[in-house]
Amino acid sequence: MIGPEFEDVLRAAAGGDEEAFGRLWRDLQPRLLRYFRVVSPAVAEDLASETWLGVIRGINRFRGNEPAFRAWVFTIARHELLDWRRRAARRATEDLPANGLLEQAAPDDPAASALEYLSTQAALAEVATLPPDQAEAIVLRVVAGLGVDRVAAIMDKRPGTVRVLTHRGLRRLAERLGSDQIRGVV
């Protein structure tokens, strides 16, 4: 997040100022990469680069505050994703580790110390094993930091649907990872 300076930074970046654009890039690129690592891991970096080309093309015409800008960037990202899906013969799932986190946490560790072993990549891989819409909704909410209404617009769904997707996704993760005392009905 850029914060209070955002509008100045945006204007400068749109005018070609490289330091300003660099700040936007550093704020958004990790989020874009993580988004694509969940929804299209084999081409995450390529699609992130394509997204930035779209941002550069349109940044002069963008009007809005920081959350709106972030939502706009992820709208471009989603278009790249959909284009890629249409072009790709099949989804690339070979990059995902089979068990995600479960390999990393020692099975008899108490939950508290198992949490120390979580790495970002392992966590993303775990999310990526969810059904695609659930995974995407969670990443847009948590990693892109967008609110329900904006995620709904990006995914072309209703806000209520997005809520259901995230709820189901988190619930599924809890079933897989949750400590033994409380388990959902499988």
């Binding site: 005018g15 890039w25 690129q29 930035w52 093309r57 015409r61 709208t75 930091g145 949750g178």
Partner: protein, 282 residues
Amino acid sequence: MPRSPANPDADPLALDDETLERLLTGELSPAQAPPGYAEVAALLAATAAPPTPDELAGQAAALAELRAATRPRRAVVGFRRAAAPRRRRVGLVAAALVGALAMGGVAAAATGNVPAPLRDAARSIMATVGGAAPAPPGSRTAPGPTPASAGQAPGSTGPGTGAAGSGPGSTAAGTAPGLDNEGLCKAYLAGQGAEQGAKLDATAFQALAELAGGRDKIASYCERLLPGGDKPKKDKKPPPPPPDDPGQGQGGAAGQPQEGPPVTTGAGGQGQRAPGASPPGR
């Protein structure tokens, strides 16, 4: 919507809307998460952890793209808008002439007993096509507005759909704490200088204090977090915006915001008259 506590007999992992929201925004730490969700809360926090060096590795390439795109792009922007209105006018004139042609041809329309607007339209069509428009008897000028200007749709654009823009309830706070640390620290450091007073609000300050391990540790935490030389430059003036900025639309919606007014043929069909119907008198 009234919330009832999750019935443990029904589904111990069910989440009410508020708890779901707080988990997704990172407001609930593993210790604060509902039963069964501690690991999930930790997982979500891990997905939003601060950027790693390899995630920031492509910056130079991105700036090169910016340089490559910025210069030539500006030269193109001005041209497209000029073309559209002319195209639209010709379309309207052509449509309005259908009735006149039904009554005996363009030349007749240019000189004959038809309403002035149609006569002018006929003349302009002939001029475009290259024929000399016959001089009207008595050399009257056209008093009324031509269909072209009357029917011309206003050149303003509708605003962008804004579908992805401001949802009324959407508080996209962007509270992925790891990724937002840089912003929080910048705001904190700016406030410390008390120059432009970009102060943190209470909850943000508290979050930063937690991350740093104490309020007195925030300063050193932020010094370590921000990359070298990336301190907020409060007195740096950004360059002025480009002069040919169309200044329209809201970027909230499509990935490729449209440029220029939408080209429509406006009142394209309205010039049509049933054969045999007499044209309205002037």
